[in-house]
Symmetry: C2
Subunit: 244 residues, 2 copies
């Protein structure tokens, strides 16, 4: 299923009530100024990526958001044992399935880095239920990757069937904006981001681990979940995580 | 020291002998078509980032390259204990010092992800001595971050003095190009990238760990180095790394 493509930028509309055309004839003058669909979410525009500097006159803002990390288990071992064309096909599939799942739920695919991706929910597209949307996106990632497993088994043999994804999700206040003055990079930072990343590392294959804040914000998504305390790298106190 | 800015794109010149103006009046018509200095290296252009699709008609190519990972030690703990403005200033400083050090040595600052960065040497700017350049960039990163330590101590108190960087470097054949069909992302993948990342994790604070291939390609940079076998995650056999 392809994501339905928005005609006007959902980010600019949600943040500023400004209709920025993304597609069709009305988008032509905008494209001439470099305003086009964002790579991070094709239903938002490149203006959203620059909103801080150009519109808000601030380099970073504090926002409530949900952050999701997902990674491919066993990628390092797999990529040593197989030709690069097969590994490329695997990463293409992983990135694409993650992108579709995240965009379906109005998230921003902020980073891809080797076998991992990072997504942010609630900016630039506002969502009151950003925690629930992130959990739904995580389930969609797991389902989409499971559906690809047969094709992967063809490319990678028996190992293909073992290719799995682990997901970590955290909610709370993050600092979002441009970091680095010479190499500007749009991303979110803060303890919430660090916990989401560590939760992903702690997740077993095919597992989704979420923080208490995510559970509290989206209890109906996590009815059958169970909680356990985890020791996460860089955190002194144990952190309670729910398996979704 | 600021990096001297090139007038024509060093990448397009090196790869295709094509002079693409980056700055000054001659760059205006290029800018109208969206060709401007790249964020990954301001001495190369955005055409270099798209070279695969537009010029080479291939999504990925196999190239010899050197890959460098650097990360800030203790970032997770630090970012919990300090206000976000201080953490932002720390990341700004880290990204900027890394960027300058990498660009001075004609590398590409390919990724920033939280407390870590990834750089690639030998594309789009060709360098016969890419391994040596990466080692020099790593030393520059260590020196630049050490020089900032006093200012960091002011922002973070005693902990500021303990802020350190670990670096890992590997050389060899990587697959370089666009990954993901819906969310296109320019990066390098392969065992060399994985080893560089693992070497960075294995490096102690202020240490630079390089692979045998880097040592063989740049022995004069590593005269006083010592080797040791490391067990790296995802690798069955121990991997020999040199402390630069």
């Amino acid at each position: 299923m392809a994501v339905r493509q928005a005609t006007i930028c959902k980010g600019c509309w949600g943040q500023m009530r400004m209709p920025v055309p993304l597609r069709g004839i009305a988008s032509a003058p905008f494209r001439a100024f470099g305003i086009r669909p964002s790579r991070m979410n094709p239903n938002t525009c490149t203006l959203c990526e620059l909103m801080f500097e150009k519109v808000m006159k601030a380099r970073q803002i504090s926002i409530e958001a949900t952050v999701l990390f997902a990674d491919l288990r066993g990628y390092t071992a797999l990529s040593q044992a197989h030709p690069s064309a097969a590994v490329t096909a695997l990463l293409d599939a992983f990135y694409d399935e993650c992108a579709e799942a995240i965009w379906e739920h109005d998230g921003l695919l902020n980073k891809t880095m080797g076998d991992a991706i990072m997504a942010i929910f609630n900016f630039p597209i506002r969502q009151d239920d950003h925690a629930a949307q992130a959990v739904r996106a995580a389930r969609a990632i797991q389902q989409r990757c499971a559906a690809r497993r047969e094709a992967l088994a063809e490319a990678f043999g028996a190992e293909g069937a073992t290719i799995c994804v682990g997901v970590g999700i955290a909610s709370g206040t993050v600092s979002f904006g441009e970091f680095g003055r010479s190499h500007q990079d749009l991303t979110a930072i803060g303890t919430v981001v660090n916990i989401a990343s560590r939760a992903q590392s702690a997740a077993a294959a095919r597992e989704i681990l979420v923080t208490q804040a995510v559970y509290d914000a989206a209890p109906s998504e996590l009815e059958e979940g169970s909680a356990r305390d985890y020791r996460l790298k860089g955190f002194d106190a144990p952190v309670r995580l729910w398996a979704a």
